[in-house]
Amino acid sequence: MAYVAVKGGERAIDAAHAWRAEARRGDPAIPALSTGQIAGQLGRAVERVMAEASLHDPELAALAIRQAEGDLIEAAFLLRAFRTTLPRFGAALPLETGRMAVRRRISAIFKDVPGGQILGPTTDYTHRLLDFSLLDDPPPPPAPRAEDPPGPMPRVATLLEAEGLLRPEPPGEAPPFDITREPLAHPAPRDARLQGLARGDEGFLLGMGYSTQRGYGGSHPFAGEIRMGAVTVEIIPDELGFPIDIGEIVLTECQMVNQFHGSRTEPASFTAGYGLAFGQADRRAMAMALLDRAMQAAELGEAVTAPAQNPEFVLAHADNIEATGFVEHLKLPHYVDFQSEAEAVRRLRAAARAEAAE
């Protein structure tokens, strides 16, 4: 099956776009949204678009959301397309989340985790009741401040590693695989898998992560640690030769800790899955961590039985821009294709009728 180029219809397309633009603006009596309002007040949507577009730029993500009328997959598509217009200057030094200016840090496995449990600006303990007072847009009361700043917050994973309970993360500084530059061959290495998950559709990641909890490749996860905060971005410019700080971005990191029964060659220990996402994105980071762990099944000698454990399946279907492109292209004219299929079906039917008549 293939799409065949067609000509004509320009006037209809122009009219459709004009109607779209009118509909996008909505009732002219109501003030238009600014990108500043979107970036400032719809932060979770902006972060999701940046993640799925694989491009951190809150202002452009806000513009894309406005242009796409809140269709976040379309917005990610717009931003991903814009990305291709820019040259790549290089890569930053790896973001050191251990040096994060922590806004939120919780552990579901250590009540008295060193450094404490910091809830941050979470919705976890809201009752999910609609807040009708927001209809009137009241200014929120100032958030309380405490004088004693949080102390050092060692990673939960590091604490477990020190006790030998968690397999330590192999160190390395090699330049990672880049799925935007090199064709992905399977079995995909873990760095390529994490890159694919980081830009994956949040709904897909969530559903696939959820499937592991429901028994399709389950590995008994615990949220070892979730932390969110600002991390410094550093580069080493060629002309300087030493690292410089070029600003900071907010990230959410999740370390899942999973059961591992050990093998003939290794004593029992826990294993970990890792998630990292732009912005405040517990759900995305947690789902990513579940899938990172599930996709380690083959390397850990576990039976690969479920879709979430199959990197080829997960990575080939996680990208919502590729997925929407292929699904939605079915709307485009397939007249020639269909005509040839219809001819074939008519011929077969005619042959069957002739045979029945004999």
Binding site: L55, H56, D57, E59, L60, R83, L86, R88, F89, G90, A91, A92, L93, P94, L95, T97, V102, R104, K111, Q117, I118, L119, P121, T122, A143, P144, R145, A146, E147, D148, P149, P150, E169, P170, P171, G172, A174, P176, F177, D178, I179, T180, R190, D191, L194, Q195, A198, V233, P237, L240, I244, D245, I246, G247, I249, E253, Q255, A272, Y274, L276
Partner: protein, 136 residues
Amino acid sequence: MLARADAARIAAALPPPGKRPHARRLRGPETGLLMLRGRMGGTGAPFNLGETTVTRCTLRLDDGLVGHATILGRDADHAELAAFADALLQHPDFAAPLAETLIAPLAAAQAEARAAIAARAAATRVAFFTLQTMRG
């Protein structure tokens, strides 16, 4: 610090055009992509997380000093002003006054912003005193 400041703040602290060296652009300001990398498990080998827009600028003062800046985002004025400030901060006549009028206030403002966030975070620290007492 200059990368984290906003353009207007840098512009306001720079000496007025007549009283500062002339600068010539060597490169940019130009916007491009920078690949951001995380580490597997937070501490392991790097992986590509996704890109960010960055804008960089390099310029040279008449007396040969070169200033460079790279900032997150696409604000060309910000990158150029930061590069200019970087060059002036190496200049014997301008470094000391600029450190006082620009860098010191920026450092203070940025430290204050960090402290304000840390204080809000500290207020959301969960205290398990009751549970500890019950267990003890």
